[in-house]
């Protein structure tokens, strides 16, 4: 037996990120670090300086005459279609053609020998606009009758009007929910290298290589087989590189083919933040009916989203806001509607949670309203309304895997919630400048793309005749440790050390027709596809070993570093070498599609989600009622990732998501001036959390007893998005601290983000 051999990197182990050593030494290559082909030239975008207007005159002579400039590209230079709309709406031009619809919209690109020359040249454009009326936020857009960018959705179950009418108590409210810039540390970038015929190879920082391939083919007017898209890694994505890099890749490809030279495009951070979409801001109108015990009887709500000038992913994003308008709570009668409003702002896009957080936070606001109305601890109201297995969501999916009662019990105990809440109440009762708040909030997040066809993945495994393994799959690595986790699955399958496996860059040449690495689904989908590929090769090896080493097939087993033929242990390398000589096929393409899911948008019914991921957090804050400043004193998180494939990586995802979620709700504020120019377009003005903003005490635990009740990869659960929403506990705690100034007679009803300004103004409003 060889079971005692220690091998590293199996499933469920704390394996380090496969690029960790390269990260810390600076040797990890990002797109801008790739060796540049000889003769590479640079593209730079010229952006509009008008929120809405007809282009009256576009004078680019000075741009063309600038030092180092080769030429400019405009809408007229596009051989295929001038559109990168990901959802087929044909409303996302690469270059504005005749009319600009937001401040910062790309109007042209300039090509020059150096990036600096291109950038300086772009600034020389003289463009005159005939200004047209603009609407920047969803309410103004509604008043201006701007219409929807895509079809709205209503989810209904039961009769919300009747339920509300019959309820002993009813509360109506409105909540403003801010957007969020992704602030991936590596900005958008693409480098295109032209080839023979119609070929072009594009290295690009993207979460969705297949879509880049499709878009570039579309824009060049060539078949997809002519376009190869590569991505080794991204310096962060968070949804901001699911569709937003298409434009950059297309500009690079257009220029590369036009001038037959390699072309790189990398916008400055300010241009990146002005020209690319963000998390959707929402204004939500809600009405909730409830009984004396705080049990919700009926909910009715409207979610108005700032979608920007085009649809992009606003359809599925606003849909998902509705899918999570219940968060973890059962609404007996419910009607919730989305309003994807067209605005003269950049087209908003995917961002971790994909609309879900903007649904969840309204559910938690309603809980808070009920608690304050009844004078109860919001936690009691939360518990009273948690789903029970067998109940239906507003989209008619049955909840069958509820674990929140157990999570709550464990977290309440480990965080000492009851005693600490009492201490907070006692502290606040003394009055004083510094007030405290504490809140425990849950998340229940549906896992699967609601676009059902996206729930598929491919993988490719080669075993070379020296026994080394090359692993490729359709997912992309943006820091989440996807490559590491998928390699762990393969290491486990072959019982080999993870160091034997080379995880190669994602490329459309190896695995075709991939889905975006998004919706937290990367490991679920690609891990399964890789396992399928491994199983195919294993089956051939079992067959071969059984025959060569004369053992029954059911006695051929993979053990650490070896394959057992009965009692004989043969080193893995030896088996592979022999298999090659025996002409065994040592390569396999794997495939996976998520079973059992279906969704009918027209009826608003189905099972869009394969399963739910759960979590809960307790956060305590202190608020300075003289200034509105605050500090997160402590956060305790208990989160469900099923049977974790990699507890260290999963814990990192939870910590990072939580801090990013608190950033969304506290210091990160998008601010436009009246002319429609986004003025928070760089880290000098747009503030994401720093190390000193994280909780002063931060306890993060995995619910290690949880196991996915569905047959997911190794019974794990997705982790990328769900813990983002645990940041809402901080927001709720701030609300409590503010409400203490009038002894909790009414909720603070802060809009998000709760900047120090909003907090102080709420304190002052309550005190008046």
């Amino acid at each position: 037996m060889k079971d005692d051999i220690e091998i590293k990197g199996l499933a469920h182990s704390d394996t380090q990120h496969d690029s960790a050593v390269k990260h810390v030494t600076g040797r990890a290559e990002y797109t801008d670090d790739l060796t540049e082909p000889h003769g590479l030239i640079h593209a730079y975008l010229g952006l509009s300086k008008c929120a809405h207007g007809r282009i009256n005159r576009m004078d680019l002579d000075a741009v063309r005459a600038a030092p180092g400039v080769i030429d400019v590209l405009t809408a007229d230079d596009i051989p295929g279609v001038n559109d990168v709309s990901p959802a087929g709406h044909k409303d996302d031009p690469i270059f504005a053609d005749g009319e600009v619809k937001f401040w910062g919209q790309p109007v042209f690109a300039v090509i020059a020998e150096t990036r600096d020359q291109a950038r300086r040249a772009a600034a020389r454009a003289q463009i005159d606009y005939d200004a047209l009326p603009h609407a920047l936020d969803p309410i103004a857009a509604r008043e201006a009758e701007m219409g929807y960018v895509t079809d709205p959705l209503t989810l209904r179950r039961g009769d919300a009007d009747r339920g509300l009418a019959a309820a002993p108590h009813r509360i109506k409210g409105r909540m403003g929910i801010g957007g969020q810039d992704h602030f991936y540390l590596e900005g958008q970038i693409a480098m295109a290298v032209p080839g023979e015929d119609e070929d072009v190879v594009i290295n690009v920082s993207t979460q969705h290589p297949s879509e880049v391939q499709h878009m570039v083919a579309h824009v060049l007017g060539v078949p997809s087989h002519s376009v190869v898209v590569n991505v080794r890694r991204m310096g962060g994505g968070f949804g901001g590189k699911e569709t937003q890099m298409n434009l950059f890749a297309c500009v690079a490809a257009l220029a590369a083919k036009k001038w037959n030279r390699a072309v790189k495009i990398r916008p400055d951070r300010d241009d990146d933040m002005s020209a690319t979409g963000k998390r959707h801001d929402f204004v939500a109108d809600y009405e909730v009916g409830f009984d004396d015990e705080g049990r919700i009887l009926a909910v009715q709500g409207d979610w108005f989203a700032r979608c920007g000038f085009s649809a992009d992913l606003s359809g599925p994003v606003t849909d998902r806001a509705l899918f999570h308008a219940d968060n973890a709570y059962y609404y007996p009668d419910v009607r919730v509607s989305s309003h994807p409003m067209r605005t003269n702002t950049v087209s908003n896009t995917a961002f971790r949670g994909f609309g879900g957080p903007q649904g969840v936070i309204v559910a938690e606001r309603m809980i808070e309203e009920i608690a304050y109305a009844l004078g109860r601890d919001p936690l009691e109201i939360r518990k009273a309304n948690l789903y029970e297995n067998g109940q239906l969501t507003p989209y008619h999916q049955e909840v069958t895997d509820q674990i929140l009662p157990q999570l709550f019990a464990e977290l309440e105990a480990s965080s000492d919630y009851a005693a600490r809440r009492q201490a907070v109440l006692d502290w606040n009762a003394k009055g004083g400048v510094i007030r405290k708040g504490i809140a425990l909030t849950p998340v229940k997040f549906g896992i699967s793309f609601t676009a059902t066809w996206y729930n598929q993945a491919g993988a490719l495994i080669h075993i070379y005749n020296d026994g080394s393994i090359a692993l490729n799959h359709g997912g992309t690595e943006m820091g989440q440790g996807l490559n590491t986790k998928v390699a762990q699955v393969v290491a486990e399958a072959f019982q080999c050390d993870i160091s034997r496996i080379k995880i190669t860059r994602t490329t459309t040449e190896k695995v075709p027709n991939t889905s975006a690495t998004a919706a937290s689904s990367g490991t679920d989908l690609n891990g399964m596809a890789a396992l399928d590929a491994a199983d195919q090769i294993k089956a051939r090896l079992v067959e071969f070993v059984a025959e060569r080493w004369q053992a029954p097939r059911d006695q051929v087993r993979f053990v650490p570093g070896h394959i057992m033929a009965g009692e004989t242990a043969i080193p893995f390398d030896e088996v592979i070498g022999a298999a090659y000589m025996a002409r065994i096929h040592l390569s396999a393409a794997g495939f996976y599609k998520t079973p059992e899911i279906h969704w009918d948008r027209a009826t608003g019914k189905g099972r869009p989600f394969y399963y739910f991921a759960y979590g809960a957090a307790v956060s305590e804050v202190s608020v300075d009622t003289l200034t509105g400043e605050y500090v997160i004193e402590r956060a305790d998180i208990l989160h469900d990732v099923g049977r974790s494939l990699n507890p260290a990586i999963d814990t990192g995802q939870i910590e990072g998501a939580f801090v990013q979620g608190t950033g969304w709700l506290t210091c990160e504020e998008l601010w436009w001036n009246e002319k429609g120019e986004l003025k928070t377009h760089a880290p000098s003005t747009y503030k994401i959390p720093l190390a000193s903003d994280r909780p002063r005490i931060f306890n993060v635990k995995l619910a290690d007893w949880s196991e996915n009740s569905e047959r997911t990869i190794k019974r794990s659960k997705a982790v990328g998005e769900p813990p983002f929403m645990l940041g809402i506990s901080v927001f709720e705690a701030i609300n409590m601290a503010v409400a203490s100034v009038t002894d909790y007679r009414e909720p603070a009803r802060l809009d998000a983000p709760a900047t120090p300004e909003r907090v102080l103004m709420a304190v002052n409003r309550l005190r008046q």
Binding site: Q16, H17, S19, A20, V21, H23, V24, T25, G26, A28, Y30, D32, D33, Y184, L185, E186, R233, G235, R269, G431, G432, V433, I434, G479, Q480, G481, S622, D624, L626, T627, G628, E629, V631, R634, I649, G652, E655, G656, V659, Q660, E669, W671, N673, T680, A682, P683, S684, T685, I688, L690, A691, S692, D693, R694, R696, I697, F698, P756, E757, M761
Partner: protein
């Protein structure tokens, strides 16, 4: 053209015949040298992905400080030792202890910010081997990470601190050799161009004074934390530029006054603040991030005339004066009078800020407060310096200067008047707080609304009183201490 631009880059000496004023260190590393470990995240000194160490000779010997390569001009590296992530090695030639700790604690996710974090932590590890979690946070004020939530990075930093090994580190082992090599780079005037872009490094402050008489409107560059953005963000032509970051480093403490050379960085001034104005230390450590404090100078913060610079409110409250020099002639100006209106200061052609004279507070009661959306490394929406002197139970004098409330840093005349001569007590401060509404008509912008600025400015005066009044009302300020 005279001289060459000479500096050490890791273990090699660089000598350039050509260099432009607007060439950045980051572009030199990434484009000219293809050293791609140092990343560009924002090109404005706010994210820290481009953090490198710059070693320079000081009176205290060779010191290494993290700086932002994106806004550090290449020319300003003359006579320095630039250390990038590519230079890090462990004693065995493998990973450096900082790198090992980052790997073992899962301190990287996407990895793009990581080299910058490694370099900031390297600077901390060398300079303060006993750093605790709070000091790690201060060292990381200038480094953004969007993936990890920072927790594993802090753990890695603390683990690296306890691993020790500083004496074995390459920069320690080679200290004498590097010092000798830097000394050999002669400090005489260097005058270089790239095309029409001209950069001049004066030999000394007298040379600077002479240069300013020769040149019409040159750009003066000390720490480049502002001018860097003129180039990287506004694409402005700054030629000819005179680099003065190595000049005017003197500090003199005399009877009742501190005289700080205009070229003293925030970091270099920090021990003075800690010793003489400890009430303002917390405020001082919230100026920019660590990298910015290592580059930016007190003189630069004043000279550029910004209405939202962090030092003027405090310095005006303290009654600071500045020394302006033209040729060999010097004049003193009250700092509050230097700021005439937005974009206009009392500085004539050929003049430069040579030093800042700060009267020590004595028994005056001092406070400095800064309001921003994010606690650290943010530009203030409102900042205030307060100095109140008592005569028995009466307020003898009050100096209250605000930033962010007007087009220049400005004293709150009405609030001061409401205090002067009044009994030391809540009533006077309440009256002063109420006077703020008449003292200022602030603007609304992306940092804060006019209403908030007015409300919070008044409350900061109330806070001052509550802090001075002491116990009874409970704590008045948030405690940011890191818990167990």
């Amino acid at each position: 053209m005279t001289g060459k631009l000479r500096f050490l880059l890791n273990d090699r000496e660089v000598a350039l015949d050509q260099a432009g004023a607007s060439d950045t260190l980051l572009d030199f590393l990434r484009i000219d040298r293809r050293m791609t470990g140092t990343k560009e995240g924002c090109a404005e000194g706010d994210c820290g992905a481009c953090t490198v160490l710059v070693g320079r000779l000081t009176d205290a010997g060779l010191i290494y400080e993290p700086v932002n390569a994106c806004i550090r001009f290449l020319v300003s590296c003359h006579g320095c030792h630039v250390v990038t992530v590519e230079h890090l090695r462990g004693p065995d030639g493998g990973l450096h202890p900082i790198q090992t700790a980052m790997v073992e604690h899962h301190g990287s996710q996407c990895g793009f910010c990581t080299p910058g974090f490694v370099m900031s932590l390297y600077g901390l590890w060398m300079g303060n081997p006993q750093a605790d979690a709070a000091q790690v946070e201060v060292a990381l004020q200038g480094n953004l990470c969007r993936c990890t939530g920072y927790e594993p990075i802090i753990k890695a930093a603390l683990a690296a601190q306890s691993a020790g090994g500083q004496a074995m580190d390459a920069l320690a082992v080679e200290r004498d050799a590097v010092t000798a090599r830097l000394r050999a780079i002669r400090q005489e005037r260097v005058d270089l161009t790239r095309g029409a872009d001209r950069a001049i490094i004066p030999a000394d402050v007298d040379d600077l004074a002479a240069l300013l008489l020769e040149h019409d409107k040159p750009t003066l560059i000390a720490g480049a934390t502002d001018v860097g953005l003129w180039v990287t963000k506004f694409l402005r032509d700054i030629s000819p530029a005179i680099f003065i970051g190595h000049l005017m480093k003197g500090v003199e403490v005399t009877d009742g006054e501190v005289k700080i050379g205009a070229g003293v960085t925030y970091t270099e001034a920090e021990p003075l603040i800690a010793r003489h104005i400890p009430e303002a230390l917390d405020y001082w450590q919230r100026i920019g991030g660590w990298q910015v404090r290592n580059m930016g100078t007190v003189g630069g913060n004043i000279a550029n005339g910004s209405p939202i610079g962090d030092t003027p409110p405090l310095l005006i409250a303290l009654g600071a004066r500045i020394v302006l020099r033209k040729g060999d002639a010097r004049r003193e100006v009250d700092l509050q009078d230097y700021f005439i209106e937005y974009g206009k200061q009392d500085r004539g052609p050929g003049e430069f800020v040579e030093s800042v004279i700060i009267p020590l507070p004595g028994d005056a009661r001092i406070a400095a407060y800064k309001i921003s959306k994010r606690r650290d490394s943010d530009i203030s929406s409102v900042a205030v310096g307060i100095s109140v002197t008592l005569d028995g139970d009466r307020i003898a004098d009050a100096r209250i200067a605000f930033g962010g409330m007007a087009a220049t840093p400005k004293r709150a005349a009405g609030a001061e008047a409401a205090l002067k001569g009044q009994p030391w007590g809540e009533a006077a401060f309440e009256a002063a707080a109420r006077a703020i509404a008449d003292d200022f008509t602030p603007l609304s912008d992306m940092r804060a609304s006019a209403d908030y600025r007015s409300a919070v400015a008044a409350n900061l005066i109330r806070r001052f009183w509550l802090e001075q009044a002491g116990e009874g009302a409970g704590p008045v300020r948030l405690d940011y201490a890191v818990g167990a």
